[in-house]
């Protein structure tokens, strides 16, 4: 390796601990406010899954999906702040960090999804 080679940039992502996502929509609106996105566009899109368990009861899961408009709140994270959705999530179930760290965190979560939108 020569002295001019760039230090590898850590891949950053969002971990959604969807065991606890209540579907409150705070992440979606936090994102819209941060980026001033109009109706019809957003960095996160909340999705709902209704699954029938073997005993016929329902399991409801919500999962915010980071779209192509998510830039992981670059301007905020550059200033040492967390992405707006992470900060405002009422269930505190969105985590931001390096993929490596998030994957470690994921080990202990019963239901989680790791996203790398950029």
């Amino acid at each position: 390796m020569n002295a001019t080679a760039k230090k590898p940039v850590k891949r950053m992502g969002l971990l959604i601990d969807y065991e606890y996502c209540t579907g409150c929509h705070s992440c979606e609106i936090a994102c819209k406010q941060e980026h001033n996105y109009p109706v019809g566009r957003g960095g996160l899109k909340l999705t709902e899954f209704l699954t029938e368990r073997p005993d016929k009861s329902l399991r409801i899961d919500y999962l915010p999906f980071p779209t192509m408009y998510c830039n992981l709140c670059k301007s905020r994270t550059n200033d040492g702040e967390s992405p707006s959705c992470v900060k405002h999530c009422q269930a505190s179930c969105i985590h931001y960090g390096s993929v490596k760290k998030l994957a470690e965190l994921m080990e202990s979560r019963p239901h989680a999804a790791l996203f790398t939108p950029i």
Partner: protein, 752 residues
């Protein structure tokens, strides 16, 4: 601090803006006199920076082109939609003049002061009403004042105070406070904690999620399969309006199986033997037939709740809507009392205004503390409903909504001539039987509406419209929850004024002696005295919290043991017997049943089988939605996008034989009328129930008579009567229990 010319101010958020009952803290960014951002305040103990969608959409609310921005007077007929801009001087001159005329001619009681909910409403409306001299402060339109007050009344009578589950909200350290314990079990009873989108003050819904992460198991009692029902250890899918029967059967199990806290019962309760006898009538099997919850689940829930220590219980507005609300809530109160879960870490903690500071009175004592016993006693003589309902007379000083309406119609025993309507959109939202309200109010001589947007109500009945400010446009203080928050004016929008400012100035004109302060801030400073802070100092630090063992008795735990609850300083509770009254002596004194019981809803499969045969579905309305606060926010683009259509939710298996597909327009028809909605099919619904969100109107449509933004097509309250309030007076709006049928609309009717 952010960019040049920007400043960030911390404050409490309290409607208008998010709507809601307040509690959280925000940081707003101001640039060139405009609010450019609203974020959560991470240094605020209520939500640690988390925030609801409505507060996050605040910029769209504040700068919406349809905001009311200056006072207006009506220049056409009522409902014609012809308005002329006027100055504040002219607006207040007119209000003063008309209200003086009514007072001189008929007496001050002839003017009704109606509020809705949310905002800091009660504080400034009672302030104006009392300065004017009218006892008739009411939650206008809502039958039985069926929101919160029935709870407060019942718990105040039974144990002298009201409780909320302990989520360490009284400690700035919150969950890290070493004294706090996570409840082993939290009962979410008719509440939909997290799904309500945080509209709360004393207990924020997502605190339940915080507790789940710390090991708390949920028992959820809800006719609808909510997110938390799907995550619960035990979910009881109850038939709406039968909560009392369920609570009594749970008491039956807990008492008969000796699962109660004997030491607490012996030492701190009154009337256990009488309660024991009463609950024998409510076996799990009998309750199962009433509630539609299988008996084994009732038994399991009772055992699970009683053997957990600590256990918390949070219940919601549907209990206030029970046919006998104050009796049902009495039964719930017995549950946390006999299991010894009062004022212990992780149990149900007694909740009083921090430091004893009142801005918005929640009890009789607080009203008396603010206005004096003699003055209040004199007003009570003419307060509507006080002569007929002793509980209404003796608790909190509301005029009873059902009787206010009746008196507007009959003009007896004395005439009603005007309505001051502030934070209330009764035509679209608050009132049951809204047409009856419309007909009654449009005949009055003088009506004022104070609001942030034009509403169906303002269009239909107002003579003068006054534009109110959102929360960053006003100075106010939040005390109905912990901590105390300052709200401060940091921006000006058009000529909007804060509700407090409007009422303060008008009160001063109408009765200068009653308003000796120079401005609202001076009044707030006076009321904040017990905190040791002026309004400015509180605003500077944004919030404050009373320390543990504060002499005001407003901080847990075990205050009944320490003598911190009673005015005489003795151990015990603030009741006649000093104990938690399972047998309620005040109810007895007021001619009410001193023991809890269940009574069927006005329409139900059991009480009106002949109606059930023709209308085989139970209509639930009033469930919360995180995008909207009641009838607010329908015009806010980011929020409306979350919930664009006025819907009716139904189980797909119920819809199939009716030929109803997802997205079809349908009629919901009851005995009293029908409304049009768009069907959304979801297996979260019970097969014999539907849900229709309340508060719908379409700000994008014609606001003039007779359309009024589509309210008559959409407002499900047209299926619900007034005048069927609980025996005590408080409670009973049948918002969860009316029977209906649903069928497709014909193509030519399919607008909306």
């Amino acid at each position: 601090m952010g960019e040049m010319g920007e400043r960030v101010v911390r404050m409490g958020a309290w409607s208008a803006g998010p709507g809601c009952h307040g509690g959280c803290g925000v940081k707003v960014t101001i640039k060139d006199g405009k609010l450019t951002k609203c974020e959560g305040d991470e240094d605020h103990p209520y939500l640690q920076g988390r925030l609801c969608p409505r507060a996050l959409a605040l910029t769209q609310y504040i700068y919406h082109p349809d905001r009311l921005q200056y006072p207006m007077k009506r220049v056409g007929a009522r409902g014609e939609g012809k308005w002329a801009r006027i100055s504040w001087d002219e607006a207040l001159d007119t209000c003063e003049d008309k209200m003086r005329t009514i007072r001189d001619k008929y007496g001050p009681e002839s003017m009704v002061f109606g509020q809705g909910t949310g905002r800091d409403a009660g504080g400034y409306i009672i302030f104006l009403a009392y300065a004017y001299g009218s006892p008739n402060w009411t939650l206008f339109g809502l039958s039985g004042i069926s929101c919160f007050t029935p709870r407060l009344a019942a718990m105040s009578m039974v144990m002298g105070d009201f409780t909320f589950p302990d989520a360490a909200q009284f400690s700035p350290q919150r969950y890290d406070d070493p004294e706090w314990k996570a409840p082993e079990v939290l009962v979410s009873w008719a509440r939909n904690l997290a799904g309500s989108g945080c509209t709360d003050h004393y207990f924020s819904g997502h605190w339940a999620v915080d507790m789940m992460k710390r090991g708390t198991k949920l028992i959820v009692i809800d006719p609808v399969c909510s997110w938390e029902a799907s995550r619960a250890e035990l979910w009881l899918q109850i038939r709406p309006g039968t909560d009392g029967a369920l609570a009594l059967a749970m008491l039956n199990v807990i008492i008969n199986e000796n699962l109660y806290d004997k030491e607490f019962v012996t030492k701190w309760t009154h009337g256990f033997e009488e309660l024991k006898q009463r609950v024998q009538e409510y076996t799990p099997e009998k309750a199962a037939a009433i509630t539609w919850v299988p008996a084994e689940k009732i038994v399991k829930a009772a055992r699970m709740y009683a053997t957990a220590k600590p256990a918390g219980m949070r219940f919601g507005q549907p209990l206030d809507s029970n046919r006998e609300a104050t009796s049902t809530i009495h039964a719930l109160n017995c549950l946390w009392a006999i299991t010894g879960n009062i004022d212990i870490p992780g149990g149900n903690v007694i909740t009083r205004p921090p430091f004893g500071v009142t801005i918005y009175p929640y009890s009789t004592q607080e009203v008396i503390d603010l206005y004096g016993e003699e003055f209040v006693a004199n007003l009570t003589k003419k307060r509507i409903g006080a002569d007929r309902f002793p509980l209404v007379k003796n608790f909190r000083a509301w005029a009873l909504s059902d009787m206010v309406l009746e008196q507007m119609e009959t003009q007896k025993p004395y005439p009603i001539k005007g309505l001051w309507c502030q934070t209330n959109n009764f035509l679209a939202n608050t009132a049951q039987d809204p047409k009856r309200h419309y007909e009654a109010v449009r005949k009055l001589e003088f009506n004022v509406v104070v609001d942030t947007f034009m509403t169906p109500t303002a269009q239909a009945i107002a003579d003068i419209i006054l534009p109110a400010g959102s929360f960053p446009e006003k100075d106010s203080v939040f005390t109905t929850g912990v901590p105390i928050n300052a709200i401060q004016k940091v921006i000006q929008v058009g000529e909007c004024r804060s509700d407090w400012e409007i009422n303060f100035e008008l009160a001063k004109r109408l009765n200068p002696q009653a308003v000796p302060w120079a401005n609202v801030r001076e009044l707030m400073t006076l009321r904040l005295k017990a905190t040791g802070l002026t309004f400015e100092q509180l605003a500077e630090q944004s919030w404050t919290m009373a320390p543990k063992n504060h002499k005001s008795g407003t901080v847990p735990y075990r205050r009944h043991e320490k003598g911190q609850l009673r005015p005489d300083g003795q151990p015990g509770f603030r009741t006649n017997t000093g104990k938690v009254e399972l047998y309620c002596t005040n109810y007895e004194k007021y001619g009410l049943d001193p023991l809890p019981y269940h009574r069927e809803p006005i329409e139900s499969p059991l009480s009106t089988p002949e109606i059930w045969e023709k209308y085989p579905l139970i209509m639930i309305t009033g469930r919360r939605n995180s995008a909207f606060f009641h009838s607010e926010h329908r015009q806010i683009p980011w929020l409306r996008e979350l919930s664009p259509f006025p819907e009716m939710e139904m189980h797909p298996e119920t819809a199939a034989p009716l030929g109803i597909k997802d997205g079809d327009m349908v009629w919901i028809e009851g005995v009293r009328g029908k409304v049009k909605r768009r069907a959304r099919l979801t297996p979260t619904m019970h097969r014999q129930m539907i849900h229709a969100l309340h508060g719908w109107w379409l700000p994008e449509t014609d606001g003039t008579s007779p359309n009024f933004y589509g309210v008559w097509d959409l407002n499900v309250n047209q299926l619900i009567p007034m005048g069927e309030q609980s025996t005590s007076g408080f409670g009973g709006a049948a918002t969860k229990t009316m029977l209906c049928k649903v069928y497709k609309v014909k193509d030519e009717e399919a607008t909306v």
